[in-house]
Symmetry: D2
Subunit: 400 residues, 4 copies
Amino acid sequence: METLFTTDKTRKLIPIIKAFIETNLYPLEKPETLNGNFSAIEPTLKKLREKVKEMDLWGLALPESLGGKGLTLCEFGQISEILASSPFGHFVFNSQAPDIGNTELLHKHANKELNKTYLDPLSKGEIRSCFSMTEPAYAGSNPTRMGTTAVKDGDDYVINGHKWFTSSADGAAFAIVMAVTNPDAAPHKRASQILVPLDTPGYEFVRNIPIMGHTGDSWASHAEVKYHNVRVPQSNLIGNEGEGFLLAQERLGPGRIHHCMRFIGIAERSFDLMCRYAVNREIKDGVTLADQQSIQNFIAESRVEIDACRLMVLSTATKIDKEGSKAARAEISGIKFFTANMMLRVIDRAIQTHGALGMTNDIILSYWYAHERASRIYDGADEVHKVSLAKQILKPYRNA
Amino acid sequence: METLFTTDKTRKLIPIIKAFIETNLYPLEKPETLNGNFSAIEPTLKKLREKVKEMDLWGLALPESLGGKGLTLCEFGQISEILASSPFGHFVFNSQAPDIGNTELLHKHANKELNKTYLDPLSKGEIRSCFSMTEPAYAGSNPTRMGTTAVKDGDDYVINGHKWFTSSADGAAFAIVMAVTNPDAAPHKRASQILVPLDTPGYEFVRNIPIMGHTGDSWASHAEVKYHNVRVPQSNLIGNEGEGFLLAQERLGPGRIHHCMRFIGIAERSFDLMCRYAVNREIKDGVTLADQQSIQNFIAESRVEIDACRLMVLSTATKIDKEGSKAARAEISGIKFFTANMMLRVIDRAIQTHGALGMTNDIILSYWYAHERASRIYDGADEVHKVSLAKQILKPYRNA
Amino acid sequence: METLFTTDKTRKLIPIIKAFIETNLYPLEKPETLNGNFSAIEPTLKKLREKVKEMDLWGLALPESLGGKGLTLCEFGQISEILASSPFGHFVFNSQAPDIGNTELLHKHANKELNKTYLDPLSKGEIRSCFSMTEPAYAGSNPTRMGTTAVKDGDDYVINGHKWFTSSADGAAFAIVMAVTNPDAAPHKRASQILVPLDTPGYEFVRNIPIMGHTGDSWASHAEVKYHNVRVPQSNLIGNEGEGFLLAQERLGPGRIHHCMRFIGIAERSFDLMCRYAVNREIKDGVTLADQQSIQNFIAESRVEIDACRLMVLSTATKIDKEGSKAARAEISGIKFFTANMMLRVIDRAIQTHGALGMTNDIILSYWYAHERASRIYDGADEVHKVSLAKQILKPYRNA
Amino acid sequence: METLFTTDKTRKLIPIIKAFIETNLYPLEKPETLNGNFSAIEPTLKKLREKVKEMDLWGLALPESLGGKGLTLCEFGQISEILASSPFGHFVFNSQAPDIGNTELLHKHANKELNKTYLDPLSKGEIRSCFSMTEPAYAGSNPTRMGTTAVKDGDDYVINGHKWFTSSADGAAFAIVMAVTNPDAAPHKRASQILVPLDTPGYEFVRNIPIMGHTGDSWASHAEVKYHNVRVPQSNLIGNEGEGFLLAQERLGPGRIHHCMRFIGIAERSFDLMCRYAVNREIKDGVTLADQQSIQNFIAESRVEIDACRLMVLSTATKIDKEGSKAARAEISGIKFFTANMMLRVIDRAIQTHGALGMTNDIILSYWYAHERASRIYDGADEVHKVSLAKQILKPYRNA
C-alpha cells in the first residue's frame, strides 16, 4: 500500500520481509516458545538469521559502511513495524534493541580499536551487548540521579554500582555502562558512557529479573547486575567524559522511533487477529462477533488510533532525518506516550474480543499484554514525557 | 511552519490569512457578538468581505472557473484550519457551509440556467443558500428513511415535507431540498436533490431552532421549515432523478475535510488560549497554572491529539485529491468521529484551565463548548461512523 | 423504592414531592423559559411557592426552629435529588443555593438582630441573598489569596473589593461578603464574613456575566460586583473576625451534599429521558435506538455510575450527620469531583442518544449540558479536590 | 472502621483475619511462589489451614449445618475483601472458588448420598472440586449453545464433550459437569448439572492451559478436559433434569458478590502498595512521588472508585440477603463489569507508580495485572453484562 512515506526502498523491501516473517516466524508462536526460555528457540532463530543474510536482508538499520542499506530513519521505521509483528522479527534481522542502539553509538562515538573489537562482531551478529543505565535505588524519572561511579586510577576507570533492567545482559559480550565520572559538574554533565567487557573481574550477574511471571534468559531477559571495582582502560570511554547524557539523548531520538514503530507493528498484528476472530466466532446461528456493535466499536476506534500514531511517528522520523533529533525533541516526547498507550488499548480490545482464548498463550495477545505493559514505563514514563512536552510547549509562552 | 503538506500556495497564503483574521476578526469576539444575533454583526462582516476581495483572497474553495485559486482539497484544508480560529473566518472568506457545498454541487451537477441564476451570485457572496435534508420524524442515522416527497405534476415537481436543521435557511435565497421522487426504487435510489427558491409559495419558515440556549438568525441559525405543495419546475433538479444520495455522498468527502479542519482550527485556538492563560494565571506567589502537572498533562495530551488529527485529515485529503472520495471512504468515516471528539476534549480542557472565566462569554471557549457539541451528531453520529468504518474493515475478512 | 437510606420521613415526603414536580414544573420546561430571563417565569414560580406552603412542604432544609421538618442531611439529600429533576425545583421549595447556605450560616453564627432583620424574611422566601467570595483577579484554587478588604473605621467596616460569580446578586437584599480583616494573620485566618445590605452606598452591580451564551437575571444569574468604600456596622460581622474560612469550610460540608445530590437528580432525569427516547426512536422498521449496543452501553454504564454516586454521597451525608463535617472531609472532597464528572457524562450520553434533538432547547438536556459544566469548576475544581484528597490519604503514610 | 454494613460478626472477625493474613500470607509473596507451581507452596498452605481450623475460622462461607458461622452474604463479602488481599487468602480459609460454589450447590440441590460422599470431605477441605461448563467451540456470551451431551443409558448418563477453563480440575476429586440432557427443550432448559468423579474412565485431562505465560498446577490452574463416553449413575444429577442453567443462575448471585469483593480486596491492597511506595520513592532531594500531581490524581481517583464499588457490591449483597438473587438481577450484572474494570484501573495505576519495579515479580502487582485481566471476561464479559443490564432497564420503558 502506497502511503505518504513510501519510497523505492520500502516498496521493494516490505513485501519480501513481510512474507519472510509470516512464513518463518508466525509458526514459532507456541506457548512453549513464548513462555519458555529464549535459549531454547535460539538455535532455530540463528538458522533463520543465516537465511536473512543469504537474502541480503541483514542489518537493515546498519549504516552503509557496516553493510547496511542506507535506509533513512523513516524507511527503517516502516520496516520495523513489519518486523514487530513477530516477537522474533527484530532479532532474526539483527535489528533488536539494545544492540541496534549500541551499534549506532559505537559507530559514531567509539575509537577505532573499540570498533574493531566490538562493533565489527556486533554488526555481524556474532556477539550481543547490553546497556546498563537504570538503577534500583534511583527513580528513572530523574536520570541525573545515579549511584554508579567510575573513578580514574592510573590508566583505568574503576567502576562501582548497582544496576537493573540491564536488558539482555545474560550472554552479552559487553555492556555500555553509564557511570558518574565528574561528580562536581552540573547534573547533566556528571556521567559518562564506558564500555565494559562482561568477563571483567568484579562484574556480578545477580539474576534475570522475573517480569510478569516470566524470568526469561539470553537476549529475552532483564538483568540485575553489580559492578564491584570493575577496572577497564580509560580508552573504553565512549565519546568524551561528561557526555553520558548527551549521547543517551542522541540515542533516544532514533530509539523512540524504533520503539514506537514496534508498538505500531504489535498493534497492527493484534488488530488483524481481532478482525479475523470477530468474523469467525459465532455467537448464535449465522451471527458472529463481527456483527456486534461493541466489537465494531473496538475495531473502528483501533483503526483510526493506529493510523494516527503511524502518521505521527513517521512524520517525526522524517523530521529527524531532515533536521536532526534536537529539532524534533518535542515530537519525540509526544509520540512515546501517545503510541504506547494506543498499543496497549488495541491489545486489550483484541484480548476482550477473543474472550477466554485471549487470556491463553494459544494466541500471542496475552504475551504482549503482559510484556508490553512496560512500554509506558521504560525510556521515560508517560508522566515524565507529558511534563517534558508541556514544558517545551510552554517555554515560548512564558517568554512572551 | 513547513510540514509534509506545505505547498507554494499554502506557504504564501497562510501567513496573510492568519494575520488578517487575528487583526480583523479576533477583536469581534465579544459576549454581545457571540450571544447575539448574527444580523447585528453582519454589516461589519460584509465590509470585511469587501476587504477580502480587494486582497484577492475571495472564494478560496471555489473552482478556478468561478474565480477561485485552484487549491487542492489538501491545500484548502490547511487554510480552513486558519479560518476556523475565528467563528467568523469562513463567512468573511465566503467559504462557509452550507454555501461552499452547494457551490460545488451546482458547479458540477446543475444545468446552465440554474448556474447562471443561482451559482453566479452565490459564488460572489450576493446571496446565501441552505441544504434541506434532515427531518425531525426520521433518525439521521438512516438517511434512506425520509418523509419528504416530490411528485411530478405537469412540468413541475410538487414538494411536501417537514425538515429541520436546514441550517442558514433564515435569509437564504434558495434551498437544495432532498425529497423522494422514486418511492419504488431501491432505498438508496429513491431521493433526488431539487433547488427550491425560498420565495416559492407553500414554503413555510417555522422557526429558527433554539440550540444550547441560542436561537440565532441569518447565516448563524438552524431552521425548521415545511414544504406545503411547493411547486418548482422539473428543470430545478440537480443531477438525475434518484441520485440524491449519490450526490450527497459525493459532497460528503470534501465536506468532511472542511468540517474536520474546522475542528482542528478550533482545537488549535483553544489550545493556544489554554497555554496563554496557564502561564499568566498565578495560584500563589511566582507559581502559575503552567507549573501544575494536571495542567501540563492537559497541554501535552492536547498537543499530540491535535497533531495526530491534522495528519489524519490532511493525508485523507491528499488521498481524495489523488484517488477520489470513493477510494477514501473508510478514512472519511474515521476522521469524522476521531477529530470531533478530539476537539471537544481540547475545548473542555481549555475551559477547565480557565476555571470560572472559561464558563463565561468573556472568552470564546464557552461558545465553542456549547455549539460544537453538535459535531459528534451532525453529518453522521459517532456511533454511525464507527459501525460504517468497522463494516468496511471487516468486509475483506468476511470474504476471506 | 426502599434503599439503605430510606426513613419514615423520606418514605412519606418523596412521592408527594415527586408528583408535585412532575405535575407543576416539568411543563414549564420550554425554550423560552430555559433561555429567557428568570424574571419572566418568576411570578408563576411564586404562585407555586404558595402552593408548596399550603401543602406544608416549605423550607425542607430549614432547621425546625425556623419551621423546617428537622430532616437529617441524608434525608434532605434524598429529597434534593428529586427537586433537582427540574431546574426550578429547589427555588419553588425555597431550598435553592445560595439562600439555603446563607440561612444555615445566619442561623448558627449571626447575632439576634441580624437574624430578625435578614434570616426571618429569608427563611420565609420574602427576600433573596447572595454569597460574595470569588474574585476575578485571584485563582479560586487558592482561596486564601483575596483582594477585598474590610477596614475598621469607628463602629463600621469599610469594604473595598471586586468580586464575580456572586451568584443571584441581581435582586438580592443582601450579600455575605468575604473580606480580609486581619491581613497580618496566618493565611487561613485573614478573612471574615460580613453581611452587606445591597442598598448600601458604594455597592456597584457591574453586570450579570454571560455564561455559555446566557446572561440571565434575578435568581438565575451570576453577577460581577464592586465594593467602593461600602460602610456597614461592625455588628454585621458573622461569627468572629478571622473566621471567614472556618465558616466557609463548615458551610461546604452540607453544601457539597446539596450540590452532589442535585447532580444526581439531574443525571437521573437525563437517564430517564435517554431511556424513553431510545425505546421510541425508530431507526428502521421495528428497530429502535434501544436495540443498538452502543446505546445499551450508554444506558448500562450510566445506571451503575449514577447508583454508585448516590451511595457515595448519601453515605457521606450519614457520616456528616453522625460525626460532623470535619470527620468526613476526605469523603466530601471525593464525592465532589466523582459526582460532577458522572453527571456530565450521563448528560452527554443522553444528548448523543437524542441526536439533533439533544442539541435543541426543545428538550432540557442542552440546558444542563451548558450550565452544569460549571460543576467541575465551582466550589473547588476537580484538580484541586484530587490533590486535597490525595494529601489527606497520604498523610498517615508519610508519618508511618 | 465502622461502615453502614458493619455487624457484630464482622466487627469481631475482620481484625483477626486481617492480622492472620498479614502475618502468615504476605511473607509468601515471592517471585518463586507467584510464578511457580501451586503444588510447591501447597504443603505450607495446608499447615496454615490447620491453624485456621484451630482458630475456629474455618469455612467462613459455609452454612451453619456444615460448621460455618451463619454469615450473611453481606458479612462474608466484607471478609472476602480481606481474604483477597493475598492470592492465598481464600484457599487457606477454604473459601476458594470453585469449591465455595460447589459446596453451596451440593448443600442445596444434591441428594443425601452425594452429600455424604462429596460435600462432607469438600467442606472439610479434604478434597477439591471443579466446575466444567465453558467449551472452546462455543462463545461464552451465549451459554445456551453447548456441545457436551449426557445421554441416558440404563441407570447411567453417558457423557461426551470437550471443555476448557475447568478451573482447578488438576487434582480435583470431582467435577460438576454442565451437559445437554434435553436437546429438544427450550434453549434454557436443555442442560443439567451432573457430578462426575474424575477417576471415572473416559475422563481425559488434556492440559493445564498456559494463561499469560503461566501454566500453573493443582488448585491454581485452568484445565482443558474431554469426556469420552464417561458413564455415571443418574443419581449423580444435581437438582432436576433441565435445571442446569437455573442452578447456574442461582449460583451466580452469591458468586458475583464473592468475585466482586475479591476484586475490591485486590484493588485495596494495590492502592495501599501505591501509597506506601509514593511516599518513599524519592525523585529528587526531599521530593517523592507522593508530591507529584499525576500520582496524587491516581490516588484520589482510585480512592473514590474503590469506595464506590464497595458500596455498590455490599448494597447488592444486602438486597440478595433480603430479597433473593432474582430481585437483584440487574444490580448483579452491573457490579460485575463496574468492579472488574475499577480493579484493573487501580492495579494499572499502582504499577505505573512503581515504575520498573511494578513490572517485576518482586512485588505482587504484576501477578494481578496479568491474571486478573480475566475478570472482564469470565462469568460474563463486560459487553454481555452491559447488554443484559440495559435490557432489564429498558423493559419497563418498552412496555410503557
